[in-house]
């Protein structure tokens, strides 16, 4: 294995561009947000001394103290529900849900209180809170540790839902989410946590609620988010070797959806394949398929195709490679689209 990358600058003045993992990007982003605003607090199970089971909050309690990085009792509704009260009091809580499969005890608080208090009070109460959720499979975990529940939250008015796919977005998007006055579900691609990339910590980031074209192409469009962005990029590279030019768009924001770049792309390529680990029924991929056929009907050369997890519970891990979309399934869908 290669030596650890330079996530610590050697000189006093930090380099503008550093190489770091997604995990470190979120960690550094959290640190920057906490330094910028004393009202930012982190709360969750094991986020303090341990630094989180994925070490995303590593070192933060040591530097910011137990009152800003709270090791909480073990109850998700309690984490979310008390964060609501802290937010009303003027804090900006960042809650960590240890794994996405454990978010459901907190679901009631999220959909009943977090999502609705601003509307119910007609803006008199703001809920500037972030709920961080490591999500998705591919790590060989036991059940409840590999799911993709993001569509539940995208379906709920009052919440915003985003997902990062690379270290630079991880660093910036977490800070932007914390700075937002709206409650945000922040989905982190846990299987990509330790993938590295360059982060420019000085250049101003783009808007939080915007999708982004990562690779331009002319034959078909691939849309993905979170952990599937890497898969989509790999598929595009493989397709290039076969002489096919694929455009890849990282959705980044799941609610509100920013589909203008997707429409623009589909109008050029005429073909769309949407990739997600989540089951397909009534999901974010359903929403994209519906909207693209509505907006780009006359441009489409083939139906919108989806490559997703199946409409089953997440399987035992020995079968997850069959369940999860991979490069071959994505390319197969591209073939079907182009053959239409």
């Amino acid at each position: 294995m290669a030596a650890p990358t330079m996530d610590r600058p050697t000189s006093a003045a930090p380099a503008a561009v550093q190489t770091m993992t997604i995990a470190k990007g979120i960690n550094n982003g959290l640190r920057a947000a906490m330094e910028a605003d004393p009202k930012v607090i982190i709360m969750g199970e094991d986020v303090g001394k341990l630094g989180g089971v994925f070490r995303i909050t590593d070192g933060l309690q040591k530097d910011f103290g137990e009152q800003r990085v709270l090791d909480t009792p073990l109850a998700e509704s309690g984490i979310i529900g008390t964060a609501v009260g802290l937010a009303i009091r003027g804090y900006r809580p960042v809650c960590e849900i240890q794994f996405e499969g454990f978010i459901f005890p907190g679901f009631d608080q999220i959909v009943s209180q977090v999502a609705k208090l601003h509307f119910r009070t007609q803006g008199r109460l703001k809920l500037p809170m972030v709920i961080r959720v490591p999500f998705g499979g591919g790590i060989g975990a036991v059940e409840h540790h590999s799911e993709s529940p993001e569509s539940y939250f995208a379906h709920t008015a009052g919440l915003k839902v985003v997902s990062c796919s690379n270290p630079a977005d991880a660093y910036w998007m977490i800070q932007q989410a914390i700075a937002s006055d709206d409650p945000i579900l922040f989905f982190e691609p846990k299987r990509r946590y330790y993938e590295k990339g360059e982060v420019d910590t000085t250049a101003a980031p783009g808007p939080l609620f915007a999708s982004r074209v990562l690779r331009t192409g002319t034959d078909a469009t691939l849309v993905a988010y979170g952990p599937m962005v890497r898969t989509a990029l790999d598929a595009a590279s493989a397709a290039e070797e076969e002489g096919r030019s694929l455009e890849v768009i990282d959705l980044r924001t799941l609610s509100p959806l920013d589909l203008a770049p997707v429409y623009e792309s589909v109008r050029r390529t005429g073909r769309l394949v949407v990739v997600s680990e989540a089951p397909s029924e009534s999901s974010i991929t359903s929403e994209i398929a519906a909207k693209v056929q509505q907006e780009c009907f006359y441009s489409l050369q083939a139906p919108v195709l989806r490559v997703t997890g199946f409409d089953t519970p997440y399987p035992p891990s020995k079968l997850e490679e069959e369940f999860l979309p991979d490069l071959d399934r994505v390319l197969h869908a591209v073939d079907r689209s182009l053959a239409w």
Binding site: T72, G81, I88, R89, F119, R120, T121, L125, D181
Partner: protein, 397 residues
């Protein structure tokens, strides 16, 4: 104070409850008997209007203060009855009566200071009154014109919470914030009080609220109005143990107070809030009271409870005992009682007029303030909706 040793579960040797039709006394035996657990019941004013002393929770009260508590209770009862009548006339979609719980709410509400924070459930019209909220502001949510129109920041009175028990965790977090802000520790400290019912004690969020408040030493008073019924489910369907005794399991004090005794409720709540503002919280108060009316106007309590029980609790009326005491003490005369009645009538008239003239909200309300920072997808949906309506002749809906 709390003494679980005194209380024993009926156990397997107890006579079977279904042997014969139970008497009224038997129906309210056990968890719902005022005599059972009565040893720990804090009471300062008997149902007969006699002032009694308590070694821990006695209180000095002036004639003027007691007249004020009486006035509060009469006025909120009148508001409640008027709103109930408005529902019967079809002017409100639903109403949640507080009849019988006036002492619990006025006692607790008057114990609070302006800087304290209150998290209500949905029956806390008396607390709202004490927080300076106009009774008319309670109507929107029940008439369906809004989700509550008061300013929770200005009044320090959170919106009504319909989902049972959610507000207990929200309150625990708010109280943690008070502590983190350094507002706890002396006479000028702040505290939070959260209101919930006996049914809510079965909810996980209430349990978690107890845990959070305890481990973070939050300045939080849990104020449980045990009105004996969670719609049709009695207290014994929620617990094997008197509710105030649960506090012991979480490591903080639990106290049962006569919730129909405004003086005792005021004294105990003042003490509890004071403990919290000095950093000695949290504390659970069980206000032992009775819901004299239905759960809501959609409920029919005659299907699940005996009229004898209602008759027995009528004798414990929270307003009558204060009136008797005021008269006995010669602290109030007929002129005073008449003036309170006149004031109550005036408030009822205002409430009625306001209610029937409350306009329906504009259709744009559907889309307003869903997000603090907007949402382009929602805004496009709103624009399409408004354009659709504008397409009708004259732009009328």
């Amino acid at each position: 104070m709390s003494s679980p040793e005194k209380w024993t579960h009926p156990g397997p040797d107890s006579p079977p409850a279904t042997a014969a039709k139970p008497t009224a006394e038997q129906v309210i035996a056990g968890l719902r008997a005022t005599d059972e657990g009565g040893a720990d019941l804090v009471q300062l004013l008997t149902p007969e209007g006699e002032r009694v002393q308590h070694p821990d929770f006695d209180i000095d009260i002036t004639a003027e203060e007691l007249r004020g508590l009486y006035r509060d209770m009469v006025l909120v009862r009148r508001v409640d009855r008027e709103a109930n009548a408005l529902q019967r006339k079809g002017q409100l979609g639903i109403w949640v009566p507080l009849l019988g719980q006036e002492a619990a709410q006025i006692g607790a509400g008057r114990a609070m200071r302006p800087d304290d924070m209150a998290f209500p459930s949905y029956r806390e019209h008396g607390i709202a009154w004490c927080r300076g909220i106009k009774p008319t502001d309670l109507l929107g949510i029940f008439r369906g014109t809004d989700n509550g129109t008061w300013d929770p920041v200005k009044h320090r009175f959170h919106p009504y919470t319909i989902v049972i028990g959610n507000q207990v965790l929200n309150a625990a977090g708010y109280a943690m914030g008070q502590k983190f802000d350094g507002k706890v520790g002396d006479d000028d400290g702040e505290a939070t009080m959260v209101f919930f019912g006996d049914g809510a004690t079965s909810q996980g969020d209430v349990h978690e609220g107890f845990v959070w408040a305890a481990v973070y030493d939050a300045p939080l008073v849990f104020f449980c109005q045990n009105n004996q019924w969670a719609i049709s489910e009695p207290t014994e369907r929620q617990s094997r143990l008197p509710l105030y005794q649960r506090a012991r399991g979480y490591g903080f004090p639990g106290i049962r107070v006569d919730g129909n005794d405004v003086l005792a409720t005021l004294a105990v709540t003042k003490w509890a809030l004071d403990e919290c503002r000095h950093g000695n919280g949290p504390i659970l108060i069980e206000a032992f009271t009775y819901r004299m009316d239905a759960h809501t106007t959609s409920d029919d309590p005659s299907r699940y409870r005996l009229s004898d029980e209602l008759e027995l609790w009528k004798l414990k009326d929270p307003i009558e005992r204060v009136k008797v005491h005021l008269v006995k003490q010669q602290w109030a005369d007929q002129e005073f009682f008449d003036s309170v009645e006149a004031e109550a009538e005036q408030i009822a008239v205002e409430l009625r007029d306001y209610c029937v003239n409350l306009p329906d909200p504009p259709a744009e309300r559907i889309f307003s303030e869903v997000y603090a920072e907007g949402n382009p997808v929602l805004e496009a949906q709103r624009d399409e909706f408004l354009a659709y309506h504008a397409g009708f002749a004259g732009g009328e809906h």
